[in-house]
């Protein structure tokens, strides 16, 4: 397999290698300055709630996601804080949803960044509902973290569980 090795000024090296398949292909680099994105530096995660969660009326409450479907860079905490703290700076597509039952009058879901609301999702005004939120979020790759919070009005509020009902995921779409 043919390859090119580029050594760093002080240490390390990058190897560009051609795949061991027949045929000729051309990869054209754009006339732009930036960071090359490869799968190894593109964190992605998906997690869901594996248990119902009781929510207090009219209070933004962090949702708990205990089961990971994948966590490519081990950046999602599914045991204590239920948050995504990516280790690569850039712009992330973040998505979340939940299902709720009880005696509900309304609610929504929000993406929180570093403990404060960043983006608010769709408001629902029915009993037994599903809602979602989706947004691009810049993360600094070190201290920034995101979480999903629910705000619901009513009584006996119970957010449901399941990979199809109450879930949280995200992935890097553009490096910083």
């Amino acid at each position: 397999m043919s390859s090119i090795v580029i050594s760093g000024d002080t240490s390390g090296a990058i190897t560009l290698a051609a795949p061991a398949v027949s045929g000729t292909n051309t990869a054209t680099l754009p006339a732009a300055t930036g960071t090359v994105m490869v799968s190894g530096n593109m964190p992605a995660f998906s997690a869901y709630a594996n248990a119902s969660q009781s929510i207090t009326n009219a209070t933004f409450t962090k949702l708990q996601f205990q089961t990971e479907e994948f966590d490519t860079a081990n950046c999602f905490d599914s045991t204590t804080n239920y948050r995504f703290t990516p280790n690569v700076a850039g712009y992330y597509q973040i998505n979340g949803a939940y299902n709720v039952g009880g005696t509900i009058t309304g609610g929504l879901v929000s993406i929180f960044k570093n403990g404060s609301e960043l983006k608010r999702g769709v408001w629902f005004a029915t009993n037994f509902a599903d809602t979602s939120v989706s947004s691009l979020v810049y993360m600094n790759g070190s201290t920034d973290y995101i979480e999903l919070y629910a705000y619901i009005t009513g009584s006996s509020i119970l957010v449901g569980s399941g990979s199809n009902l109450t879930w949280f995921n995200g992935a890097l779409v553009r490096a910083a």
């Binding site: 207090t56 009219a58 209070t59 933004f60 708990q64 804080n81 609301e117 009005t153």
Partner: protein, 58 residues
């Protein structure tokens, strides 16, 4: 009583809209309970802990 219930007992004029705009109650699911994350009501002062503690349930 929840924190929301206590605040409503102190300020019964507050609306659903208030709790989505000028007042934020938050719970970080860390077993520390509900707290006032933000209080930006234009006319009602943020209740003190003493005022909240004085509210009794019904």
């Amino acid at each position: 009583m929840t924190l929301y219930d206590k605040i409503m007992a102190l300020y019964p004029s507050l609306t659903t809209e208030d709790f989505l705009t000028v007042i934020t109650l938050q719970n970080d699911s860390d077993n520390k309970g509900d707290y006032i994350k933000a209080w930006n009501h234009p006319t009602l002062a943020k209740p003190t802990q003493e005022q909240l503690d004085a509210v009794t349930g019904v």
